[in-house]
């Protein structure tokens, strides 16, 4: 195979991996949007908050340490323990469930039957609150996240693909972490699918996503389902936060991946889980390939805008996205 083609393939593979992360964030959006018609602007911040909480718990950080020190003149930072990764992850899941309950109780419950724009604004408020709250609780410095995921390039892949090309090709250069992310994302989607198809709660979730009135009439509590989907979205945010955090550290820019999820959603459709996955992968691959092929001609940095231009084209020609249901105004 010509080396140039192999390089292009490597770019594509790396793009796929980046796409997995976009897809994970988009998935969180879709879950909440389907079940409650809310566009959750806070999904990206939830990933940041989850990652912060995970690191904080794992490192035994004292929550609100800065605040406590400022008020009482003390100087506490850490409890002095170090939790195993799995324990910290389970505790963080618990925190995300509590967050879901709080959101339902203090926000959603009071806004039922409001216009979507009002709910959207509420989630903007939630995003800013959570961002500040995360800062106060865990501090704003950049943190390393290490839950024992493999790091660095996979030599195995490199060695076993070197034969594909000629002298100048040393095999595909792929991050191990990216491979783990892909596998985890796949497992997550499979288990979510099984859950929603075969469990009582999953069935109730699909029912609520389809029709609120009908769901109530068969005995489903909307409030319970909202807590459930926000918990699941919190869990998905945690997974995305772990992957992204392990790659580039836990910092504020993590919440900005939510912005990339927006074009992903426009591509995949706001109501389609497969759409979120495929949309994420297309954007991931597309922006890397575009940078590789066209980038040099236009001075590079195309990754900053490629996704949005692609989304814009979709908005014009196929506003419901690749898999989204056709939007028909109810009259």
């Amino acid at each position: 195979m010509p080396d140039q083609l192999l390089f292009a393939m490597e770019v594509m593979l790396n793009g796929l991996m980046a796409g997995v992360l976009y897809a994970l964030v988009a998935l969180g959006f879709v879950l909440i949007f389907k079940a409650s018609g809310i566009f959750n602007y806070a999904q990206g911040v939830m990933a940041l908050f989850a990652a912060l909480t995970l690191v904080g718990l794992q490192e035994g950080q004292v929550p609100f340490a800065h605040l406590i020190n400022a008020i009482f003149g003390t100087d506490i930072h850490h409890f002095g323990w170090h939790l195993p990764a799995l324990v910290a992850i389970i505790l963080t899941i618990g925190v995300m469930v509590v967050l879901a309950i709080i959101v339902e109780k203090f926000v959603l419950k009071h806004l039922v039957n409001q216009e979507p724009i009002i709910l959207f604004m509420a989630t903007i408020g939630l995003a800013y609150f959570l961002e500040g709250f995360g800062d106060v609780m865990w501090g704003s410095e950049i943190k390393m996240l290490d839950v024992g995921l493999p790091q660095g390039a996979s030599f195995w892949v490199e060695e076993n693909t070197a034969w594909l090309g000629g002298e100048g090709f040393y095999g595909f250069f792929i991050d191990k972490l990216d491979m783990v992310a892909a596998v985890v994302a796949a497992l997550l989607v499979i288990s979510l699918t099984i859950f929603s198809q075969y469990s009582k709660q999953g069935r109730a979730l699909r029912a609520v996503a389809d029709d609120h009135q009908a769901a109530l009439s068969v005995g489903i509590s909307l409030r319970f389902i909202w807590v459930l989907v926000w918990s699941i979205a919190g869990f998905v945010a945690l997974v995305a936060g772990i992957m992204w955090g392990a790659k580039s550290g836990v910092q504020f820019s993590l919440s900005l991946i939510a912005l990339k999820a927006l074009p992903v959603l426009m591509l995949g459709g706001f109501t389609s889980i497969p759409g979120a996955i495929v949309g994420g992968l297309i954007i991931g691959v597309g922006e890397k390939l575009f940078e590789f092929t066209i980038g040099p001609m236009v001075g590079g940095a195309t990754e900053n805008w490629f996704a949005y231009v692609l989304a814009l084209l979709f908005l014009v020609f196929r506003p419901q996205g690749l898999f989204g249901e056709k939007i028909i105004e109810r009259v």
Binding site: Y198, S199, R203, A207, Q213, S217, V218, E325
Partner: protein
Amino acid sequence: MNKMTSEGYTTADGRKIGGTLMEMKNITLRFGGVVAIKDISFDIHEGEIRAIIGPNGAGKSSMLNVISGFYVPSEGEVRFRGQKRPQMRPYQVAQQGIARTFQNIALFKGMSTLDNIMTGRITKMKSNMAQQALWWGAAQREEDEHREAVEKIIDFLEIQAIRKTPVGRLPYGLQKRVELGRALAAEPKLLLLDEPMAGMNVEEKEDMSRFILDVNDEFGTTIALIEHDMGVVMDLSDRVVVMDYGKKIGDGTPDEVRGNQEVIDAYLGVSHD
């Protein structure tokens, strides 16, 4: 009908009807300035088919919505099985064994007929998430049982041919039938039907009437239904409540209300003043 008491009565065709199942006492319902229901009382006996009739806007659907918890009455009390019912959310009412259909059909449009009816069994499903995750076998067995119950309903309503069809694509008449199926799947004690035959042709109406009678007869389900077609009402119901402008203007057997002057006036459109 003879000797109507709260313990029960016997219909003209000799069916034995049980005691009071549900009692509406002095129900009033206001929407801002509009009074949809004005101080109405009536009861529903165990095992009977009770019709609610009246001209458009009389407040029939509102009454059904009060019973099923979708509307909160401004005044009055709802008594179920002899006890005052605290204010309940619609899903709690459903869990008590009261199932319903809607005037404007509320189905899960993206789901198949089978899935829609299966969703009707949610109140009957036991396995919780932890159980399902830990013990797949029990969950599977339960799923099979529910599936069997749903298949029986599908056979009963003669809708085998559309089992897998997304209901959004079905014609109106069949959608009404699926919605009935979903309500039946809950094995309700009380079934509330809001205009189950609206928009149907004569043949479809006959089918639907037969299903309603069979449900009542075979499972002993108590049924309260709203219907405009007087012929259907006379054929199906044991007792009829007549509403007009939010007030109750008649209550009794079909023959009794048919002879009631106020009812005749309401239906002939005698002006209200």
